[in-house]
């Protein structure tokens, strides 16, 4: 049987995740170059949802069965193992998500095969694959040799064409799957928001960090964002503190943005935040600490207290 590559099609509240469509576009040129077929794997959900994100795939294997509606690591891992048996694909590409990390690692352990979470590139070499990843806070790229079968990677990368979401006539093969019952983990309650903003398209972003401190200052920063015709973004610390919802988080576990103007308000500039915003056109940061790391990554470094600086900026913009 000719070699094949699988892409994991992850379902979210609004259908197949765009991250999975991006993973398809990442894998497609590689499959073509290596003469491998490219198939999608989706677990649970309805076939209707799948058709929306399967552009570029030869077919989609859709695992269906009791207990596969909600993601549970062992149930989904077992289902994929049952599907592969002793004839796994050469390579499985997962989106860089919590599910992708769980499953890529799970299957790598099951088959004693190479894994790399967060791969940036992949090429075939001899018996295995060489995949690279960025480490040391963006300063070094590391090459990993991945052996065995199936090699499992997660990636945030995408192909030159980018993800294409849209209806297509891909063949969806329904595969009845049992075994999920072995995982007695139960989802009691989910509180998920559908993404309401697309920060990727924003020209101006005003981002809020833990330094905002109080409601009054937060409202001032919001006013500043309005005046700059910008979207509000946030660090993880600001999201955890409840200032903004998760869909506005920027960074390693949030959106990667590149607006023309990025204004960082009370943000220290941790590496996990930087990876999401360092490619912005012009970066302005306001911080009370003259040694805040964010200043090393800013064009304009405003030293001062947000409670003073933001109202002044508002007055100047209104004036």
């Amino acid at each position: 049987m000719a070699g094949r590559i699988w892409v994991y099609l992850e379902r979210g509240p609004g259908g197949i995740l765009e991250e999975s469509a991006a993973a398809v576009s990442f894998a497609a040129p590689a499959a073509q170059r290596w003469g491998l077929s490219l198939e999608g794997v989706c677990i649970g959900g309805s076939a209707f949802q799948i058709a929306d994100a399967a552009l570029g795939l030869e077919r989609v294997l859709h695992l269906q069965g009791e207990g596969l509606e909600d993601f549970r690591a062992k149930a989904y891992g077992n289902a994929m193992e049952a599907l592969m048996g002793d004839d796994p694909p050469e390579l499985i590409v997962f989106p860089s998500t919590t599910q992708g990390e769980d499953l890529a690692s799970w299957i790598g352990a099951a088959y004693h095969a190479g894994v790399l979470l967060g791969a940036r590139s992949i090429k075939r070499e001899g018996e295995g694959y060489v995949a690279s990843r960025v480490e040391f806070e963006g300063k070094v790229e590391v090459d990993y040799l991945l052996k065995g079968r199936p090699v499992c990677i997660t990636t945030e990368g995408q192909g030159p064409e980018g993800p294409s979401l849209g209806s297509t006539d891909v063949e969806v093969v329904a595969i009845p799957t049992a075994g999920a019952a072995e995982d007695a983990t139960r989802i009691i309650h989910s509180d998920l928001v559908k993404r309401t903003v697309n920060l990727k398209d924003a020209k101006v972003i005003v981002a809020v960090g833990a330094g905002v401190g109080d409601e009054g200052t937060f409202q001032k920063v919001r006013e500043l964002a309005d005046l700059l015709k910008g979207e509000l973004g946030a660090t993880r610390a600001a999201v955890d503190a409840g200032w903004l919802s998760h869909d506005r988080q920027i960074g390693q576990t949030g959106a990667k943005v590149r607006p023309d103007l990025y204004v960082a308000c009370g943000i220290s500039g941790a590496a996990q935040h930087r990876v999401g915003m360092i490619e912005s056109g012009t970066i302005v940061s306001i911080n009370i600490d003259p040694n805040a790391p964010i200043f090393r990554y800013s064009h304009y470094c405003i030293e001062g207290d947000l409670r003073e600086v933001v109202p002044k900026l508002i007055d100047l913009l209104k004036g």
Binding site: G108, K147, A210
Partner: protein, 267 residues
């Protein structure tokens, strides 16, 4: 009831300045400090909280490999674990091997109902260690856990952070729990500090070593590690021609805004 925590010492690679690679293109590991993997420390905290809530729990810290600069197992003792075990081995170990040895060690401990570990992917960590271990043990896995909300008999109710929100999950024991990031002091995962009393008590407490060879004795060895690092390449860094602005000076702020206007960034 026994909770095991897989903890590690990692290199502190935060905010490194200057060259990262030496003349032969390898990271300058030995120039850096060691630190307790911060999410492993959160996992330890969660295990200790189980014990705080119910004294029937015992907690064991487990770690693979020799101490480099910081003995994370001793740090576990200083925070209140009941036992600590070091898994020793020769040469380099891949995460696949570490997970295998960890699974064997967990099976040798008595009545382990839960293994907790952190989710952080550090330099060289190619996979999630909690997931590798869960598959080795054949146990359910719940990852990115923020809090143990309750224990109900042989089940834990867990809150986890997933894309776009949170999920509350009931996990039957035994299970593996991977614990996420705690950024705020009031976060339930925020780790406690070492206790002075325990420091005195455990300064010299011997930590038993179990050799990896003995853990897998009599079994088919797993094959060669399927992951190998081939090399490192420095990446070009973006330069930031930057200006300092005194936030108290309205004139300086005004000048900045007019520069931004000229560039069409502010209307």
């Amino acid at each position: 009831m026994h909770a095991a925590v897989w903890v590690r010492e990692i290199w502190d690679t935060r905010d490194l300045v200057g060259e990262i690679l030496d003349g032969s293109g390898r990271p300058k590991w030995n120039e850096w400090e060691g630190r307790f993997d911060p999410e492993d420390l959160n996992a330890l905290e969660m295990a200790l909280q189980l014990k705080d809530a119910d004294s029937a729990w015992k907690v064991t810290g487990l770690s693979v490999g020799p101490v480099r600069k910081l003995d994370v197992l001793r740090e576990c003792l200083y925070r209140g674990v009941d036992y600590a075990v070091r898994i020793s081995h020769e040469g380099q170990a891949s995460l696949h091997q570490e997970a295998l040895w960890m699974a064997k060690a967990v099976n040798q401990l008595e009545d382990v109902r839960v293994v907790l570990t952190g989710i952080q992917i550090n330099e060289g960590d190619y996979a999630q260690k909690g997931a590798l271990l869960a598959r080795r043990l054949g146990w359910p896995l719940v990852s990115y856990v923020e809090a143990i909300e309750a224990q109900e008999g042989d089940k834990l109710r867990l809150r986890r952070a997933v894309e776009g929100g949170i999920q509350v999950v009931e996990a039957p024991l035994p299970a593996v729990i991977s614990v996420g990031v705690a950024l705020l002091k009031e976060d339930p995962r925020a780790p406690r500090s070492a206790k002075a009393k325990l420091k005195l008590k455990h300064k010299k407490t011997p930590i038993p070593e179990w050799h990896a060879r003995d853990l897998v004795a009599g079994e088919n060895q797993v094959g060669l590690p399927p992951v190998e690092i081939l090399g490192y390449r420095p990446l070009e860094q973006r330069e930031f021609p930057s200006q300092r602005i005194n936030g108290v000076e309205v004139s300086e702020l005004k000048r900045m805004l007019s520069e931004l206007r000229e560039k069409g960034l502010v209307r």
